[in-house]
């Protein structure tokens, strides 16, 4: 190093052999899981589908460490029947219930806390055409996100706590409470914004709008009026159907509001409690054989929202 430099380089210990191997293995598994020519999925592919391949990476590491991995978890499920019932009135009913919820005071220095139960499948496509599907056992996932995005958040679940970077520039794919609060509550305007802001993402604009709304509903807290507007906006998306009986990751039965991704052949299903009209969780299931050969009935991912709360610190739970 040049002695005349005003600020010499601080020393940084390298990764070391074990850590290098772990990170390398992780990268390899991520690439391996995605090597098969797969049609473009929705942006949320990261949530359902990056996770599965990462699970495989975790499983490899787990062999060295200890813990998860669930060889006996079923990887297929019953494909629910699409109901004759229209989705729009059902979503309207959910909206009416949602907007009657009280709105509390939410302060910038607080955090949105969501605890859910999640389980993902992992896919391997070998060059000889065989495919292997495994699914991890449902496990808890907890997230804390700063109300105004200005501070780091926290993610717990899987393999220990992780800090989440602050989010100073929220958008529909990466919201904060303050951002959600700022969304239009007129369903037509809200949906127009979602289409505009997700332009070019996902397989089709309609499917991308549907999964984006699902993301906003699942792991966040929104003011009741916004939640209601999201339900009403979803009701306007073409191709949204009702599925009679769907079970979430916690085993709770509900009614599904779903949309088939025509490109991948998988159906995203939001699960609602029929009596309470509340959002229980979400499921993605292969409905027709996928272009890469995934069989109908394959359960791609499943979740159940257990707790939502506004909390004061990243170690407070509702």
């Amino acid at each position: 190093m040049n002695e005349r430099e005003p600020l010499p380089a601080p020393a940084v210990p390298g990764l070391g052999r074990d850590r290098h191997r772990t990170l390398r293995e992780h990268l390899m598994q991520e690439m391996d899981g995605a090597t098969a020519p797969v049609p473009r999925r929705t942006r949320r592919r990261l949530w359902w589908s990056l996770a599965p391949t990462a699970v495989a990476a975790a499983a490899v590491a787990v062999a060295l460490v200890a813990g998860a991995g669930a060889p006996d978890v079923p990887t297929t499920t019953e494909i629910g029947q699409v109901s004759d019932q229209a989705a729009a009135p059902l979503l309207q009913q959910f909206a009416l219930v949602a907007e009657q919820q009280p709105t509390g005071q939410v302060r910038d220095e607080q955090y949105v806390y969501v605890k859910s139960l999640v389980s993902f499948s992992s896919f391997r496509f070998a060059s000889d055409g065989t495919q292997t599907v495994t699914r991890d056992a449902p496990h808890e996932r907890e997230i804390w996100v700063a109300v105004d995005g200005s501070r780091a958040g926290r993610l717990a679940g899987g393999n220990g706590p992780t800090t989440l970077d602050p989010n100073p520039t929220p958008d529909v794919g990466s919201p904060t409470y303050r951002f959600l609060e700022s969304l239009p509550t007129d369903p037509a305007r809200l949906l127009a914004k979602i289409y505009a802001d997700t332009k070019g993402q996902g397989n089709t604009p309609d499917q991308q709008a549907f999964t984006t709304i699902g993301d906003l509903l699942r792991e966040s807290v929104a003011p009741p009026k916004v939640t209601a507007a999201l339900y009403r906006a979803a009701a306007r998306i073409p191709g949204v159907v009702v599925v009679n009986d769907v079970v979430d990751a916690a085993g709770r039965h509900g009614v599904g509001v779903a949309r088939l991704d025509e490109t991948t052949g998988s159906r995203t299903e939001w699960i609602f409690d029929r009596d309470e009209s509340t959002f229980l969780g979400e499921r993605e299931v292969q409905v027709v054989k996928s272009p890469e050969g995934l069989k109908p009935g394959t359960l791609i991912g499943i979740s159940a929202v257990l707790t939502r709360a506004i909390v004061d610190t990243t170690d407070t739970r509702g």
Binding site: N2, P6, V12, R19, V65
Partner: protein, 203 residues
């Protein structure tokens, strides 16, 4: 005829990414740690950088010398917008085993802690720089990329690298002139953030 490394990377050959990871992971780690002032958070940046490299592999130019500037360019983008990038790969990172081999500073000898303190101190000193100047300074001075490589990484002309670096050095001289080095106790929190979270579940 054997394919060039760039061709293999562009074709998505995982072994090629493995080679590149082996060769450059530590360099990216250093770059990230020095930019963040935090060694632990830097590991996520390494993972994100290589995941991004894989995702963006077709944008790698077919011709060229070392891929290091390309990787540093991706790492720079990751560092510029860690929040969004982290979301894209959040689920993946969720599953990455925590660095259990990284020692707990509380139990560790003074050497490691001193490293962390010096790292954080150096990062604080760079607060005097504008973000663009900081990037150029770290790439050219600390990571020892030449002007052309830094220009490639940052996607700016070589002349811009030169002028930003000159401004960065001038500003740092001004800043450090007559001042004693930053005191270690003032940034202990930064170095401990990640570990603190792991141990106590809270900041």
């Amino acid at each position: 005829m054997t394919m060039s490394l760039r061709a293999r990377l562009r074709a998505g050959e995982s072994a090629a990414f493995g080679e590149v990871f082996d060769e450059h992971a530590d360099a990216i780690l250093r770059y990230a740690a020095r930019t963040l002032g935090d060694r632990a958070g830097a590991e996520d940046v390494v993972s994100l950088t290589f995941l991004e490299a894989w995702r963006l592999r077709e944008r790698l130019l077919p011709e060229g010398e070392s891929v290091r500037p390309w990787l540093f360019g991706i790492a720079t983008n990751v560092l510029r917008n860690t929040a969004r990038r982290a979301r894209r790969h959040r689920a993946a990172l969720d599953w990455l085993p925590p660095p259990d081999t990284v020692p707990d500073p509380a139990d560790e000898g003074a050497d490691r802690l001193d490293d962390a303190e010096r790292l954080a101190a150096a990062r604080r000193a760079m607060d005097a720089l504008k973000p663009h100047e900081r990037e150029v300074f770290v790439l050219c001075v600390w990571e020892e990329l030449d002007y052309a490589a830094a220009a490639e990484a940052l996607g700016v002309p070589v002349g811009t690298v030169r002028s930003r670096l000159a401004r960065a050095r001038a500003r740092l001289r001004l800043e450090t002139h007559g001042k004693s080095p930053a005191r270690p106790d003032s940034y202990q929190v930064t170095a401990r953030t990640r570990f603190g979270l792991n141990q106590e579940g809270a900041r």
